[in-house]
Symmetry: C2
Subunit: 466 residues, 2 copies
């Protein structure tokens, strides 16, 4: 029942105390004095966690299908990553952190080519590195604004006017452009000021924070099972695309780019069909608007392809694809050379990413390839989805709107008592997360196998029975 | 002539080729295919760099008084940091990266208390961790907006209204607050959308990027030497404070916080007196506006005190102090419990910082304390400043507006041919940076000693003679 990839995993969850147990409670009380612990889910002892199992200071070992909000790709204390972390190259990257835009290391091109760029989405051969999902998206937005204004200005060689330079310093147009980024309702793209202006997940994410007056289109609200609602769903997608086109043409602050998640994750695991995304690509091409695909949560294998947008069979690639989480590093890929700003220092900051994390991602990529983990995830996902369909039939109302078919282990369902469901899961040895209002989202690692799926399924059944 | 702290430094700069030499050129050509190299200053081989010296692939070793835009505290390949980077604790933090808000490690409180919080500014005993300077400032802004709206609402227990929740989702007020952050002209606070709205350094940093309509006050433009312009300078500071108060009272989008750098760094090394900052603290207190001190570049010892605002003798601490760069990790310190948002998940993101970098900062702090490096920096800075005064007299017009007296090695001067000056410096074995329009800024590491200062001074003299 243990991992067939790495020796050392427990055979099954181990429950020694309630969670949090007495030792965890002690640590939490100490932590609360200096750090906000109200969003704390459980305390972990990462020195003892291994593979698919997260272990706490009281010795409880839970099968972890939340995986640090979908950001652990290859399990805790992965031996191949231990080796990468102990390498002289990593030590060097940790202690000699460069200002990458000014003083890159002699091997930075090689680190990029054998790592980040080796898995670049088809058609995109360049990368701008960042720190996390929010600034990956925001730097992509900045590239989009510069690209659009450059076209309006008449090309890269046209100089800024005095008026532009002077007004930019006052945060006024024309220097500060009157352009927008369009996003979708229930989208999540981050929580800094630009990214939060495109995030439309929940009020608690946005309240009190000033926001840009940017447009939002309705994301298609599909009905499940998809086969039974084909016509309605096609109409919902067509309506959404019509709204997108209307907003492109009429919004009072014109969008220069649209950002979309392949599967809206924080917003509740909302899917749309490949045809919808092909339609979005066609529309954006038609109107000269950039398409940014936010693969922060969907990227790096979890959907059964390396990038979730690989499922769409696009005739033209997205203009930019952003990533973070399982990649451990962040940034955006692009292909069009016009997306390089026309002058240096327009897209710049001190660190511009972190070579240490880029080196780690390279080791992750090597391990994913060596063990065919994307294929594994596709296969295990299919198995898991089939079994969940069975549970959905057996327990009506408990596994509603099951979604994520053919999307690897990126699976979700709705439960009427979702928050209680998540809490109960711990009592049955499972660490699991939610998304949106009612969704239980599965975000196992890429080393999640059939035997782990069976443990998970048994626990899910116990939760709804209890 | 070598470091008295660590064995292994070159005795002096080594120049083997022009920079970039043939090997560097090869690497740069390769890198340019996948990464924007137009802001590249020099390529480095960090495996060969040591202490105060940055080494390139052609074997050139430059005395580095720019230090990755002021972000290397203890020299390249510092042995104490090698040890920290090789520790099992670091390896664990690298490969098992937690979602800190949900699943902190059992020892996170201890890592904070023995590291980040050990050097917390006086009066501030809590920290919110972030990734870099920009998001450190932006999360501080978010805390400020939430704090102000909470006060306006009537306290932490007053619930959001339906109208607030609904309008927030549309990026409209009252949910998205109509409040602002005030900053100063020529300030630099980062380049994401919120931080860039407070950055007022140069048009190239801001052009084409949408910005919030937030207020800016004039930063006092002091004349040097300070002793000779005491009256004018006092008036400039009084005028600035009057403008601040006017904007607090009258700006059409009221500021809930003011952010200020102790020394405006990117903007040209602009100083103001402790009295000015005490005045700013008094004004902000009087009007219920928060004072955020941005110590991203000035923090961690370079000014001869651990935090630059320690020079001000403030009767009340700042409300928040942000940090990054030399700390290797980032975030904001605060003390007032009201600055913790009233509900969980209001200030939150997946990683919320990086324990690996927090562990590194702890090792940096230990080394700073063991070797008294803040004291060293104060002493060496005084020596360097005195010698620079001599050069300024000897070469009129070449070391104009010398500034940074009693501010450690955080020293700058203006040169009429600044860009050429910086380029020439490499030919004399020095890596040095600029700021603002004409300033040469010195940003040596904390292990910069008298013997390094002498090498630097000799090179500076050769530059202006050549």
């Amino acid at each position: 029942m243990v991992s067939s990839y790495y020796a050392g995993e427990p055979e099954a969850p181990v429950l020694k105390t309630d969670i949090p147990g007495p030792k965890s409670q002690e640590h939490i009380a100490k932590l609360d004095k200096v750090f906000d612990t109200r969003s704390l889910n459980m305390l972990a002892d990462y020195t003892k966690s291994f593979g698919n199992y997260i272990v706490d200071p009281d010795g409880n070992a839970l099968l972890d299908v939340y995986a640090q909000i979908a950001s652990i790709p290859l399990g805790y204390n992965n031996p191949a990553l231990v080796k990468a972390a102990q390498s002289p190259e990593m030590v060097n990257a940790i202690i000699n952190r460069p200002a990458l835009g000014n003083f890159p290391s002699h091997d930075w091109a090689e680190i990029l080519e054998t790592g980040l760029l080796k898995v670049a989405p088809k058609g995109l051969n360049q990368v701008f590195t960042a720190m996390a999902g929010s600034d990956a998206n925001e730097t992509a937005y900045k590239a989009a604004f510069m690209w659009r204004r450059q076209r309006e200005r008449g090309g890269p060689s046209v100089e800024f006017t005095e008026e532009e330079m002077e007004s930019a310093m006052r945060n006024q147009s024309p220097g500060a452009s009157q352009l927008s980024i369009m996003s979708f309702k229930t989208a999540f793209h981050g929580r800094l000021f630009g990214s939060l202006s495109t995030t439309r997940s929940k009020p608690i994410h946005k309240l009190d924070i000033p926001a840009f007056d940017w447009p939002q289109a309705t994301f298609p609200q599909l009905k499940y099972p998809l086969e039974e609602h084909a016509e309605e769903n096609a109409k919902a997608e067509a309506d959404s695309l019509a709204e997108v086109e209307h907003l492109i043409k009429n919004y009072h602050i014109p969008p220069c780019a649209i950002i979309v998640e392949p599967i809206q994750s924080e917003g509740g695991d909302n899917h749309a069909s490949p045809a919808f995304f092909r339609g979005l690509r066609a529309l954006t091409k038609k109107h000269g608007v950039l398409l940014i695909v936010d693969e922060v949560q969907t990227g790096v294998g979890a959907t059964g392809k390396f990038w979730a947008h690989d499922h769409w069979d696009l005739p033209d690639p997205p203009d930019m694809v952003t990533f973070s989480k399982k990649a451990q590093t962040a940034g955006y890929y692009f292909g069009n050379p016009e997306l390089r700003p026309n002058k240096p220092y327009r897209q710049f900051n001190t660190w511009m990413g972190d070579p240490a994390r880029a080196i780690l991602f390279r080791a992750i990529i090597q391990e994913i390839e060596r063990l065919n983990l994307v294929e594994n995830t596709a296969k295990v996902g299919d198995y898991l989805f089939g079994k969940l369909e069975g549970l959905a039939k057996k327990y009506p109302g408990q596994f509603e709107n099951l979604r994520g078919k053919n999307r690897g282990t990126f699976i979700a369902f709705d439960n009427p008592n979702r928050d209680e469901f998540l809490k109960k899961a711990k009592k049955f040895g499972i660490n699991i997360g939610g998304s949106g209002a009612n969704a239980v989202r599965l975000r196992p690692m890429l080393i999640f196998e059939k035997q782990h799926a069976d443990l998970l399924l048994a626990a899910l059944e116990k939760i709804v029975q209890s």
